[in-house]
Amino acid sequence: MTRWGMAIDLDRCTGCEACVVACAAENNIQTVGEEQAREGRAMHWLRIERYYEGEFPNVRTRFMPVLCQQCGAAPCEPVCPVYATYRNPEGLNAMVYSRCIGTRFCANNCPYTVRVFNWFDAEFPAPLDSQLNPDVSVRPGGVMEKCTFCVQRIQAGKDEAAQEEREVADGEIKTACQQSCPTKAIAFGDLEDPDSEVSRWAESPRAFSLLGDLDTRPGVVYLSGTEWREPAE
């Protein structure tokens, strides 16, 4: 059985936000505009959290890409009244957009605050409409969404392997954020396969889970050589 997972090496992350852009392009994420973004309605599925340490001029910036952690024990799932979010057999917290009625309960119960909501119907004014990804549905207004681990790419990879009557090879399926990362800070693959790159990264002594003591059993593992103080203040 597959359990899709991701490992992110924070020591390699430069905070360039290429992943954020790639994610938006791949997944037809609505661009809400300046005014809405100021109201806290920017819709990134993946965000780079920036934390500053020290006093000027001795300041150090830490970057942390935060996306849906695809929790093994996801707080978002049981609270949805209509099963619009559920755990699929491959360890993804799947979203069924057509089922979502927009209670936003899931987003309130997400300790990582990674869920984003379509406050209005999506608009893709020309020429943006011509770059929409045909493999990803455009979500209507009033619907919750979040990182899917590029489930359309996973599906395509599995289909291709099935046609060639073989298993999906490690590293064959790449998420958009991983593909665009210039420092190769992201690994993606099957956590159940002990030889996969992501499993090897996850075994690292530098590995930790975000808000690990909540025991949400995230599918995303972070790596950091220096002690990572969980940003709480």
Binding site: Q36, E39, G40, R41, A42, R47, E49, R50, Y51, V66, P75, P78, V79, C80, P81, V82, Y83, R99, C100, I101, G102, T103, R104, F105, A107, N108, N109, P111, Y112, T113, R115, V116, F117, N118, W119, F120, D121, P140, G141, G142, V143, M144, L211, L214, P231, A232, E233
Partner: protein, 465 residues
């Protein structure tokens, strides 16, 4: 009754019902004003449905705002009636008699409005029925693990129960209205409500048993409803929400705000319909005592909740706690403590404070305070998420304000209409009280000095025949 009634039962009927026939300018103005607010309500909701839920001020991370606050607030107010009136009926408190009807009407209307708010809140209200377990071709059920589905079950049960509980004791009065009305539409309306009531002893027997069973059955329903509303919050792992005290805390808060609105409604009714012979000072005194008790219980729960959070030292919980007590939300928080605890205790501890005007004013304060309490439960916890990067802010938009004020109008409109159509004081129960008092019945001891001129009171079966 402290002021001794000199009326026979028939005269009493006439006096109570006569008030309904009289048109009072105050009621008319109230009806018109509330009617205008009803329009505001539906305009704002329509505007939101047409344009998207984004016309509100909610955002990430404050995904829930005024709608959920008002949902909890109105469900809380609904506890004015059914629960209080059921407890009073079960304990056979004589002074319940003039109170129950108005309380039960408040329950039903507040519930209807409270039940609307989660729908208003939905991103896609047009498919709200996905939450209801109905047979469908795809064999899809709602998620019974979700507190929102429990909510639907609880509130539906409560609405049906309260509607029955309001309706049953209304039947004999509807029959009286039917018999008094001239033939025509009005008579037919009351005839439908009276369900062919003839006042036979068999009918009285069934009615009394029905009310008795409902009064007992509705108490656990009422308690469970607000407990389940609290679980919308307490079942999450959100700092500031996950708390085992929330169930009883919400029930207490609901009864507290329920009594507040009951005090206001009774003071208004007493003035507006000149009912001071029925809603006596004694009634206000008793309710005032209950009111100040609930204020103290509420204060105790609030203290217990915040002390345990503060003492735990849990980092994320303390962040929420900090913005509440010393941070951005300190002003509403301490305002809430003053209007919910300090003022009620200061005023209602003294007999002079338990008169209609002061209790109603304290009630207004408590309504504000209990609304603030719900605001302080919903917003600070959401705006202070675990990952500091997402810390947010919330201001309602004009649409949310319009719907909130409009909802008050809808409530007032329903209440005014009800008061004009049906006796807001239960006529037959008052008459029964007279009879008890006169005959030194089982509960006569609680009704004060026995009235003298009630010997003419007929059997309660005289109702509609």
């Amino acid at each position: 009754m402290t002021d001794r009634p000199q009326a026979s039962a028939r005269a009493l009927d006439g006096e109570l019902l006569g008030r309904l026939d009289r048109r009072r300018p105050g009621l008319l103005v109230g009806s018109l004003a509330s009617g205008a607010l009803v329009l505001v309500f539906f305009y704002c909701w329509g505007y939101q449905i047409a344009n998207g839920i984004g016309v509100t001020g909610i955002n990430r991370p404050v995904f829930w705002g005024f709608y959920i606050i008002n949902f909890v607030f109105w469900i809380g107010i609904s506890h004015a009636g059914t629960l209080i009136s059921a407890i009073l009926r079960v304990t056979k408190a004589e002074w319940r008699r003039p109170v129950t009807r108005s309380a039960e009407a408040i329950t039903l209307f507040a519930l209807a409005i409270g039940g609307l708010f989660p729908l208003i809140h939905l991103g896609r209200v047009t498919i709200f029925y996905y939450m209801i377990p109905y047979p469908n071709s795809r064999m899809l059920w709602p998620n019974f693990r979700s507190p929102l589905v429990w909510d639907i079950a609880a509130i539906t049960t409560y609405i049906i129960g309260s509607a029955l509980y309001l309706f049953l004791p209304l039947i004999p009065d509807a029959a009286v209205m039917r018999d008094r009305a001239a033939a025509g539409l009005k008579k037919r309306f009351y005839a439908v409500l009276a369900l062919g009531w003839r006042g036979t002893s068999q009918q009285w027997h069934s009615l009394e048993w029905g009310i008795r069973i409902l009064a007992v059955a509705i108490i656990p329903v009422a308690v469970s409803v607000h407990t389940i509303v609290s679980w919308d919050f307490a079942m999450t792992q959100t700092p500031g929400w996950k708390s085992t005290i929330f169930g009883p805390y919400f029930v207490v808060g609901a009864i507290f705000s329920g009594i507040a609105v009951l005090m206001i409604a009774m003071a208004l009714l007493r003035r507006g319909l000149a009912l001071d012979r029925f809603l006596t000072d004694r009634v206000f005194n008793n309710l005032g005592l209950l009111f100040v008790t609930m204020s103290l219980v509420w204060g105790y729960f609030t203290f217990a909740e915040h002390l345990t959070v503060w003492y735990s030292g849990d980092l994320f919980e303390k962040n929420v706690h900090h913005v509440l007590l010393h941070g951005d939300f300190a002003v509403p928080f301490w305002t809430m403590v003053v209007v919910n605890l300090v003022i009620p205790v200061a005023v209602l501890s003294f007999p002079r404070g338990r008169r209609p005007l002061p209790t109603a004013l304290v009630g207004c304060g408590v309504l504000v305070g209990m609304w603030l309490e719900r605001f302080l439960i919903v917003v600070p916890a959401l705006s202070t998420p675990r990952l500091a990067y997402s810390i947010g802010d919330y201001l309602p938009s004009w649409v949310e304000l319009g719907i909130m004020i409009g909802a008050i109008g809808v409530f007032a409109c329903l209440y005014f209409t009800f008061t004009q159509l049906l006796p807001i004081v239960s006529v037959w129960e008052m008459r029964e009280g007279w009879r008890h008092a006169a005959g030194g019945g089982e509960s006569g001891r609680t009704s004060g000095a026995a009235p003298t001129a009630t010997a003419a009171a007929p059997a309660p079966g005289g109702g509609g025949a």
